[in-house]
């Protein structure tokens, strides 16, 4: 029986991958635990992101900025703080504190453009620009208020 097992392992190339040191099914470490926070995590729902003690395992410490081709740019002069972008952002990347929209978390934004679509202002207070566009240039080229089209 043992020989059969080894032969099968050789066939699959497990030998080269260190298959000689295979552990039994009951010796395998079962499951894994990742801790989201370092230390005590009591009352985390009452703490803002900047007050929390994130551990290295928390994806808050990771970034997906490289996924982006276009980035949303936020214009605070037009914004009415309706928070539509906050509620519908799939990546928790809208920074909103004390009922005010402050900006975009570019570490976690994937550039899906949902925030731009749900923005109700005229002109929109969030617009998509190329990832390499300078922030000042983007804000300078903001469109003027559009007149309502007569139906």
């Amino acid at each position: 029986m043992q020989d059969l097992k080894l032969k099968a392992a050789e066939k699959r190339g497990a030998h080269q991958l260190g298959g000689d040191n295979l552990v039994g099914w009951d010796e395998v470490t079962q499951g894994i635990v990742l801790t989201s926070f370092d230390g005590d995590a009591t009352g985390v729902s009452h703490k803002k992101a900047e007050e929390r003690n994130y551990s290295d395992f928390n994806s808050y410490t990771a970034t997906v900025a490289s996924w982006r081709v276009m980035k949303p740019v936020f214009n605070i002069d037009v914004c009415i703080d309706c928070q539509n972008c906050w509620v519908w952002c799939p990546d928790s990347s809208i920074l909103s504190r004390d009922k005010q929209m402050l900006g975009i978390d570019y570490d976690h934004c994937k550039g899906c453009e949902v925030c731009v679509e749900v923005c109700p202002t005229n002109p929109k207070s969030l617009l998509m620009f190329s990832e390499y566009e300078d922030l000042g240039n983007a804000l300078a080229s903001w469109p003027e208020k559009k007149k309502k089209e007569k139906k």
Partner: protein
């Protein structure tokens, strides 16, 4: 239970997110909108369990986790089972007084995709509902097995092309109707069962809070457009849910105690189903002249379902 204020969006936005970014869901995925909304609905501690699916694989990419709450994943089918076990353990330890904080309120939530809810995990879900565990099950219904490449599931509606029901010269896509999961779960006698949509954030938040508050198993089916498999631009996620709700493809309603049906949203102008189908690539073939009768069939099915819902609301059965 400490529910948070959902009076208006500004107050709702003062909540602190407990679902972190940098998960690997596709850009514009509605899954994370729904999950974030649920976790912002309450201040209580949460114990969350996930079935295998897009949500599970993308929020727990080793060595990262996106969950700021307790989160369990075991197998494809058993989010309902594992969360009900956790709930029983919490109950017993509370009785014995061996918890760190005995009075801290805890809510139990399970997430599943439509594949693991309608098909693979159905037996486990049904069992947990029969045992009357106190938890909320949320189905993120994107109408296919999006995690493994868009195979058909029993949630896929008639006429949709998927990688295992491909539309072509001899086929118009999936031939069978979608399972009516909401009625099935309501037939378990659950205290709160609903179908909700993320574009109506307030109704959805209200529904989540009702489900979390209710004692006993609650089921919520949410429409979660999948830009990859439904084939539309990521930015249109909310627009697609608007169309789905306004064309009554996904009517929003709740069933309390298995018999008291309330329609939550009646669209002012009911859209033709063509508007919803035309916005997605997976229904493109239906607009060929030879498959026109399928669109008519979908429309007549929707009209029938809507009439049935209204009759059930009146009759309270």
């Amino acid at each position: 239970m400490a529910i948070t204020s959902i009076k208006n969006l500004k107050e709702f936005s003062t909540n602190n997110d407990r679902f972190e970014g940098a998960h690997t869901l596709c850009p514009g995925c509605a899954h994370s909108m729904i999950v974030r909304e649920l976790m912002n609905c309450t201040d209580d501690n949460l114990v969350v369990s996930s079935n295998t699916g897009c949500l599970e694989v993308s929020t727990a990419v080793y060595p990262f986790t996106s969950w700021d709450t307790s989160w369990i994943h075991i197998g494809f089918e058993n989010a309902a089972t594992s969360v009900s076990a956790a709930q029983v353990m919490h109950k017993v330890r509370k009785k014995k007084g061996t918890l760190k904080d005995n009075d801290a309120p805890v809510k139990f939530v399970a997430f599943g995709g439509d594949g693991s809810t309608y098909d693979i995990g159905f037996q486990w879900l049904s069992g947990a509902f029969e045992r009357q565990h106190d938890f909320t099950y949320i189905c993120l219904d994107n109408e296919n097995y999006a995690n493994t490449g868009g195979q058909r599931s029993s949630a896929t509606p008639i006429g949709a092309t998927t990688s295992t029901s491909v539309a072509g010269t001899h086929s118009y896509g999936k031939k069978e109707k979608k399972k009516d999961i909401v009625s099935i779960m309501a037939a378990h006698g659950a205290p709160y069962v609903a179908q909700l949509s993320p574009n109506k954030w307030k109704m959805m938040a209200k529904g989540f809070q009702k489900a979390l508050e209710a004692e006993g198993p609650c089921f919520i089916n949410t429409v979660s457009p999948c830009c990859t498999e439904w084939k539309f631009e990521p930015k249109d996620t909310i627009a697609i849910t608007d169309l789905a709700v306004d064309s009554l493809m996904f009517p929003m309603y709740e069933i309390i105690d298995g018999h008291e049906l309330n329609i939550l949203y009646r669209p002012k102008n009911i859209l033709k189903v063509e508007d919803y189908l035309g916005a997605q690539g997976r229904y493109k073939h239906l607009f060929k002249p030879e498959y026109k009768h399928i669109i008519e069939k979908i429309q007549s099915d929707i009209d029938e379902d809507w009439a049935r819902l209204q009759r059930r609301e009146e009759a309270r059965v």
